[in-house]
């Protein structure tokens, strides 16, 4: 366990803890403790045998960690002292990669050696195998007969060096009464080897007992070689399943140019602190997340959001670490560093998703717990049946074939590899998937509810109409009567404190028309309705019909004009004192360019689109009609969205909800699949199953297609893995013998088994390039 080092005030006292490997009894701990205490510079040392951990207090000016490590290794134990950064992270991935590379190299050597030996063994066994048939062979092969003892010696390194891991792994498993893939290979090849070795050493005795003169050295060697070869290809392929994550990690900038006390300093990004001002020049990578404080630029965010067009960013806009500054030079204030950057969050999320379990995997999980022991039982049955009704040779060969052909690996690899590649592919396109379950469920979406504002529309409404109400008693003539600038001034003053996007549009309009705002007091916002407050000593309310209803203000006189605006798809807000109407504001949001196309594709995918909005029925219907949605949930307050989703779910359909992640987290969480759009906020990412980092609606379709493609690959893999075992195990048992006199050669069985895991991994890798 890693415990951070503690440094004393005088810097002459350091306390460190590290694990120790190699202790096998409590007295070892005492021995190490003694050795450490004697080391110069060490003040105290305690070694815990149970936790295999040493805690040492020492003077870092005299002793170093290397000295401690050396002292421990002098007496035959190993201290695990690693180089870690200030937060205790080692680059576990780098470590893993280095170890994997070494393992792969060793595996390659093992495969090469065993391949050469196996070819020799095969050639040398031809005469044993084919007997009289060898007369048909070319003459040089006939003379290539190798005596059994040499065959035995050639087989030894194949089994016990190249194939040693099978035996080691089965032994450690058996100690725990557990069995794995390796157990099957070890038992199969071990049986073949032991019989042949016994016959080589004691031929006459065994023959006297009635055992046939057959050698299986070639079988044992071929099986080991082929399976090792399969493992080699599998390891190579598997290394590519995590490519996407590696690519993401590599996006990180290495250094940042930080301005501290007036000087520009280049420093590693680990040293950048929140609040630092960072300079970014054209062509450079933005090191961390922040907000532009000076300058402007076009920024290529494609690596994070998948959005191909550079985004124009100005003063006050957010910039994302790891994206590339295309044109201008600018300064920004760091707001997210270290683990708090968008990139770090994405990396964590992808890594977590790749570790999660897809429900479809459940059956494979259950089966894998019983698989190996059951295969061992089947192998025993095969041996007995063939011995009783056939020959010893058939019994042994078929038993080995059963053991070797059974492939639990393919079942274990079927789902996780596909999930890894699928989630990785998603991340590259700006589609972040929270867990395997979301990816799987997205494939079954039957209903998708789009939030209107910010999802179907750009979420930046503009004021289209400002219509003062007539004086009481007079006739309603739009554009006449009270000054529209006056009511705009009142409305904008009321809304200046509100964060709602509609409020923003009113304030923007006021600014455009150079209207100065008045201070507001007693401001109150009612979610989904509007606002109220006091301006110039008079109370006003400003909001939709519902708010007027609550405040008991009749809108009958303006009903006609309201209807007219609403049928144009505009959102209408009414300004009133607590007694009378003052004016009407119409606000319209622009549809996203891809909205109509997306709805069309969604329908083609047999998914029913719905739209949910706080707008009233008339406005909502107008917009829905325009984009091609027939099902509308209008007048829904933000906190009712989740309830509506729940109601839709009662029909039993899989319901997705697509929102912008701002104040619709409950709905995102309530839906079977929550899709948060154009956001990287924690809340949205936490509640949504799928987070789209760009604002393009077509990404929703890509996400669903990705899910469908991944689930298809998982199903193919599982079908293959189960089908393979269900069909080939009986064939190996000899199911085809009665009708066709066909038996499965163990060498062929080994080939099939090796090919089966490789094909599952390769099939998953297909997701990298499939059309989405």
């Amino acid at each position: 366990m890693w415990i951070p080092d503690q440094v004393g005030d005088d810097k002459k006292n350091m306390k460190t803890s590290f694990p120790i490997v190699g202790m096998h009894c409590a007295s070892c701990a005492k021995l190490i403790e003694k050795k450490l205490t004697k080391t110069s510079g060490v003040k105290s040392a305690a070694v815990n045998y149970g936790s295999e951990q040493a805690t040492v207090e020492y003077d870092p000016t005299i002793a170093t960690k290397m000295v401690l490590s050396q002292a421990i290794s002098d007496i035959g134990y190993k201290a695990i002292i690693e180089n870690r950064d200030s937060e205790g992270r080692t680059s576990a991935d780098e470590q893993k990669e280095a170890i994997k590379r070494k393992e792969l190299q060793l595996l390659k050597r093992k495969v090469t050696v065993s391949s050469i030996l196996t070819i020799l063994i095969l050639l040398g066994s031809l005469n044993h195998m084919f007997g009289d048939l060898t007369k048909a062979f070319p003459s040089f092969l006939r003379y290539f007969e190798i005596p059994p003892l040499i065959l035995l010696l050639l087989t030894l390194p194949v089994l016990f060096w190249s194939g040693s891991e099978f035996f080691k792994a089965s032994w450690s498993g058996l100690k725990n009464r557990a069995a794995s893939m390796d157990t099957l290979i070890a038992v199969g090849t071990g049986a073949a080897f032991l019989y042949s070795a016994a016959f080589t050493l004691f031929p006459s005795q065994l023959m006297a007992l009635g055992f046939p003169d057959t050698m299986y050295f070639d079988t044992a060697a071929v099986v080991i070689t082929l399976i090792l070869l399969g493992r080699y290809f599998e390891a190579k392929a598997k290394a590519h399943t995590s490519d996407a994550l590696k690519k993401l990690l590599n996006l990180q900038a290495k250094t940042a140019r930080v301005i501290r006390s007036g000087k520009e300093l280049d420093m590693p990004i680990a040293e950048v602190k929140t609040g630092d001002i960072v300079r970014v020049r054209p062509g450079e990578k933005i090191p961390v997340d922040g907000i532009i404080t000076e300058g402007a630029s076009n920024i290529d965010e494609s690596m994070i959001t998948g959005e191909s067009m550079p985004v124009n960013k100005r003063l006050g806009d957010q910039v994302i670490g790891a994206t590339i500054n295309k044109s201008g030079s600018f300064l920004f204030k760091a707001t997210g560093v270290g683990a708090d950057t968008m990139l770090s969050r994405i990396v964590t999320m992808v890594a977590e998703a790749q570790s999660s379990r897809a429900p479809i995997q459940r059956l494979a999980d259950i089966v894998s717990g019983y698989f190996v022991p059951i295969v061992l039982i089947i192998a025993a049955i095969t041996f007995v049946a063939w011995y009783d009704f056939g020959t010893f040779t058939q019994a042994l060969t078929n038993m080995i074939a059963v053991l070797v052909i059974a492939c639990p690996c393919a079942m274990g690899l079927a789902t996780p590899t596909a999930i890894m590649v699928g989630t990785g592919r998603g991340a590259a396109m700006g589609i972040l998937i929270k867990d395997a379950e979301s990816l799987e469920v997205a494939n079954k979406i039957k209903t998708i509810v789009f939030d209107k504002t910010g999802t179907l529309t750009n979420g930046k409404p503009v004021v289209t109409d400002v219509i003062p109400a007539p004086e009481p008693g007079s006739h309603w003539i739009p554009g006449q009567a009270r000054n529209d600038k006056d009511i705009l001034q009142l409305a904008a003053s009321l809304e200046q404190g509100s964060e709602h996007s509609l409020a923003e549009s009113i304030v923007t309009k006021a600014k455009e028309r150079a209207v100065s705002l008045s201070p507001v007091s007693k401001f109150k916002a009612t979610s989904g309705m509007g606002v109220s407050g006091v301006v110039k000593n008079q109370s006003f309310i400003f909001g939709n019909r519902a708010l007027m209803g609550v405040q008991k203000i009749a809108v009958g006189s303006i009903e006609e004009i309201l209807k007219q605006l609403e049928t144009q798809g505009k959102t209408v807000m009414i300004l009133a004192t607590n007694k009378k109407l003052l004016g009407i504001f119409a606000v319209a949001d622009t549809l996203k360019p891809s909205a109509i196309e997306t709805i069309e594709v969604v329908k083609k995918m047999n998914i029913t689109p719905w739209m949910v909005t706080g707008d009233n029925e008339t406005t909502a219907q107008a917009i829905a009609k325009h984009v091609g949605i027939e099902n509308v949930l209008a007048g829904v307050l933000p906190d009712q969205k989740a309830q509506k989703i729940k109601e839709l779910k009662t029909s039993g359909n899989i319901v997705a909800f697509a929102g912008d992640g701002i104040n619709d987290a409950p709905a995102l969480a309530q839906a079977d699949v929550g899709i948060a759009m154009g956001t990287g906020t924690d809340v949205a990412m936490e509640s949504a199953g799928i987070t789209l980092l760009n604002k393009d609606l077509r990404s929703i379709i890509s996400a669903i297609k990705l899910s469908r493609a991944t689930v298809a690959v998982i199903k193919q893999n599982l079908f293959w893995a189960f089908g393979y075992n269900i069909i080939l195990i009986p064939i190996a048992m000899g199911a085809l013998y009665p009708p066709f006199k066909l038996l499965l050669n163990p060498a062929l069985a080994a080939f099939a088994m090796a090919a089966s895991s490789v094909s599952v991994v390769s099939n998953s890798l297909r997701l990298k390039s499939s059309r989405i």
Binding site: M1, K78, G173, Y387
Partner: protein, 117 residues
């Protein structure tokens, strides 16, 4: 005669395999705040109980070269850790819901359970 011997031996070995792999009694270790799990031909202890709503530190120490065991996966906690040989790897769990959660190796060959109560 030899057929009878082989048949009887076969039946006995089938019973033996069944008993050996399926007949073992799982002992569930109780972990209060921290513990080490040795990864060697499986997980020791294989099953353990941890308290709900508390943070438990579990150290995995792999002593087995079997590459199958190099990855530790706890799907319900979205944990996937590479276990280098002879290097303790610390994970912390703060379970919110009671239940039995499985963990396994990279290829789903070796299994263990975490009981949250």
């Amino acid at each position: 005669m030899d057929k009878i011997i082989v048949t009887i031996t076969g039946i006995l070995s089938i019973l033996g395999i069944y008993w050996f792999f399926f007949g073992k009694k799982e002992e569930t270790a109780q972990i209060s705040s921290a513990a080490t799990i040795i990864v060697d031909g499986g997980y020791k202890p294989k099953s353990f109980k941890i308290p709900q709503d508390k943070t438990t530190t579990i150290i995995f120490l792999r002593k087995d070269g079997n590459t199958c065991l190099e990855d530790l996966i706890i799907p319900d906690f979205k944990i996937k850790k590479y276990l280098p040989m002879h290097t303790p790897v610390t994970i912390t769990l703060s379970p919110k819901k009671p239940g039995i959660y499985n963990f396994h190796c990279g290829m789903n060959m070796f299994h263990g359970t975490i009981e949250v109560a």
